[in-house]
Symmetry: C2
């Protein structure tokens, strides 16, 4: 038995090595199809599980890739070293993917996790990290939070020892319902609200409710990786539609009955544009016409610096087309693992049942404390306070960019926690800037490293950098951009003319 | 746009009503196939989404059922009222399912959630509830827990504002690793441990890693619903294998290369038997021979009253075949939403990546407090204390059963938080007893209501009741069983001879 186990493991390695050797020495050419695991197991007289594991490792190490419902193929570029050994040891960009070309689910899954894990290995080496989506650690309301946690713990431990409603703690759902009316123009019964463990959990819940393999799923181009990978992972066929200064180009949406659309109307990820009201109305009209559902990801709508926030799509939704997704990860902290969905009434009960099957809800204590924090008004005050802090940080970033690079072409600066800086012609590509910055302790991110996904011609996504600023003090922001400027100056090839500031990212 | 939305909704209702009418008046007979949603949408000139929603409602209300990868069929028994309106208003048993006959995924999904939601509406009416899997609310270590929570909150809020490792908080994984050696004979590196949000989350993670539609998944018969529904929901084809007094009958396992097996060796759910060492070794041998994986669900192994706990399957696993699952829901409380997987090393990294995609980990504060509680020894002391309390409760239950019903045929009393009481011949079926008890404020559960799934001839699962006792004081247990006895006596038909205690559930 024990020997058998070892033998099987060795068999997987043997299969892996044989196929790898054929790829490396050219017997299997780039792009050529591989047999399905069932065929392979029959051909080689091995179990299907052995075949699957061998393929998994070949895929993990970049030798092959799988297109769901199509097949498995030899990769176009053979990696020099394995993904598993290189993770955390290499620079971003070295493993850069062109998502429009052969970026299959497995690759994306790994890339996604790489992004998630990117921070730990790099953080130590980074002096200033413009990573996206991180709230300010110093602004967390530790005192108020501790008070609410303590009160709940002393008042009652029953929440700790009972299975709760899989849809979430009812008091929190009530508090969210109360908050959404004035804040986002959404009138929702608590029964329509399902507590999720952050956006990823929400994407999974929605996908399991609504996606069947082969269904059309419209995404913004560029879009957020975390959503795209899940929607695709459940068999959705991604249909990217361009984003312009008004949001997703609704006129370019396909007429696709029963489709699902994923949008970020308040602050498009990554571009940061706000979907205009005419576009919102047109999108809802399209959804009604196509019997389609819309996922409205409202991840950082609490931070709008210019004008008042537009009513959420969900607030305009008379046809019960919109599944609204909010999160406490940005406005409070991702360590809480709390977010919520507002669903059309007819989907609330199926969603609750699916939630029970998925993970049966979330930590009672955080939900209870969050409910109390919202109900006593602390949450509204916290949002006001943090909005002011983030505004100062955004201003510091804009001022620093202008100081060092001249007037800059930026997008998404009216709201949120990040902006996109369009790289001027003549400067290196985003991944190259990212690499050089990283060597010098500065984290700035090309789209793919910055959790964004661009569909289209290779390298077209290389002219933008994503800069998150919410977690950095103005002093850190100034130091970071100053350092970035000197890095880019120092990188000018010897013998070339000295760079003028406006040549580096400035408008001509 | 708005009118369009209403029209579409109305269209769904129209389609639903038309098909329902045809079923009710017999034009569509029981068991006859319905067109696929794509065909239906073409036939009726409606969108596929409309067809899907109409089918969903027909299925939800029990008129039709779907067999994954087979088709949709008219149900054998037409419900008198809708499931959605009846939930919480009816007694368990009225919606009893025979899981071996036409229990498709949708039905099971709803049934599963019904079980989860069963407690709330009933709890209010119940004087004594022998529901399974509930820990004692009074035993939660509120003081120690509050101390650890408070210390973590004061020491550092960064865990609240950072995205953590999707595999879980490393200090907790270390603490679990330290605990598992002496407690369960498992030597595991913290890198092999993935924190999950309870068992359901773990089942989903494993299913997404290992199950492809059509794969053979062996389950115990009877087995735990929460696992079976997920494994089946991801396309696994359930292959039930009988459980006897030594655990799953390994000799009856199919030779199925690449299969997955789900077992509960420490305290089989629901029967409560402990898998013997020879069976454990045989199961591992089978897995190595078949290149199969084993899910070892060790949900309540902390509470063993007789003898010392057997080493976990995972502790005997030399072939890297076992995925071990532990939970803090039983020994601490389900409100924490914390559990963990111990994976074969080669699956740890894929699991971590999948976890990032699924929900990106769990609440930092609970993980940090749990780590501290384990590391300072409080957890071990807590387990010892609770084990003693549960032992007293088990003894109270056994004594009460014997007092009122004479010597009883019970199973699973050596460990855990519940036992199975085999109903003597001449007494009503389990669902009937459950119904009568419920009318009198007592919660006792037939298999299907008690989160267990029995495969086989209809009603063969009706001769057992599942009785959870961990959350009830000895006084409550005595009162509950006494009341149950008088309920069953009172239910004796008029004119029949008075019942003797040994006639009610006693051995003949």
């Amino acid at each position: 038995m024990i020997v058998g186990g070892v033998q099987k493991t060795t068999l997987q390695i043997q299969v892996f090595e044989q196929i790898r050797a054929m790829i490396i020495d050219g017997r299997l050419r780039a792009g050529s199809p591989l047999p399905a695991t069932r065929e392979l197991s029959a051909q080689m007289g091995i179990s299907r599980n052995t075949a699957i594991l061998a393929y998994e490792r070949l895929s993990a190490e970049g030798y092959i890739y799988t297109r769901p419902h199509v097949g498995t193929f030899v990769a176009a570029e053979i990696p020099e070293e394995t993904f598993f050994t290189s993770i955390g040891e290499t620079e971003p960009g070295e493993h850069g993917h062109d998502p429009a070309h052969g970026a299959d689910f497995t690759t994306r899954l790994m890339a996604c996790s790489r992004v998630h894990s990117l921070r730990n290995p790099h953080r130590k080496r980074l002096t200033v990290d413009f990573w996206v989506g991180r709230p300010d650690p110093g602004s967390f309301p530790v005192k108020a939070w501790s008070k609410h946690i303590w009160k709940r713990l002393q008042r009652s431990g029953t929440g700790l020892t009972e299975y709760g409603d899989p849809a979430g703690f009812i008091e929190l759902r009530q508090a969210i319902s109360d908050h959404l009316g004035p804040a986002r123009g959404i009138i929702a019964d608590p029964e329509q609200i399902i507590i999720v463990g952050g956006c990823q959990d929400g994407f999974n819940l929605i996908s399991r409710l609504l996606i069947e393999p082969g269904d059309t799923v419209v995404v913004e181009n560029p879009c957020y990786q975390g959503a795209a990978f899940v929607l695709e992972g459940f068999g959705g066929v991604l249909h990217p539609v361009a984003v312009d200064k008004e949001g997703i180009d609704v006129a370019s949406l396909p007429e696709a009955p029963g489709a699902l659309v994923y949008v970020t109307p308040s602050h498009q990820y990554p571009m940061g544009v706000t979907m205009t009201l005419p576009r919102r109305l047109a999108l809802l009209s399209w959804a009604n016409r196509n019997d389609a559902y819309i996922i409205e990801d409202d991840y950082d709508s609490d931070f709008r610096f210019t004008g008042s926030p537009l009513t959420a799509l969900k607030g305009l939704d008379r046809g019960n087309r919109v599944l609204y997704m909010g999160t406490f990860s940005k406005c409070m902290g991702p360590g809480l693992r709390l977010g919520f969905l507002v669903l059309p009434p007819h989907l609330a009960d199926p969603a609750r049942r699916m939630k029970a099957l998925m993970n049966n809800g979330h930590s009672w204590l955080e939900q209870a404390a969050m409910a109390d924090f919202m109900l006593e008004g602390g949450y509204r005050r916290h949002l006001r306070r943090v909005r002011q802090i983030y505004l100062e940080r955004r201003d510091a970033l804009l001022a620093s960019l202008e100081q060092h690079f001249g007037p800059c072409n930026v997008s998404g600066e009216d709201a949120g926690m990040h902006l996109v800086w369009s790289i001027a012609e003549g400067l290196p590509d985003a991944s190259e800037i990212e690499r050089r910055a990283l060597e010098n302790g500065i984290g700035v991110y090309a789209f793919f490293s910055g959790a964004a996904l661009h569909f289209g011609p290779a390298r077209a996504d290389q002219r933008h950098l994503v800069l998150g600023y919410a977690a950095l003090t103005p002093r850190e922001i100034k130091a970071g951009i100053s350092r970035l400027a000197s890095v880019l100056r120092a990188a000018t090839p010897a013998g070339s003319r000295p760079l003028r500031p406006e040549q580096i990212g400035g408008r001509s």
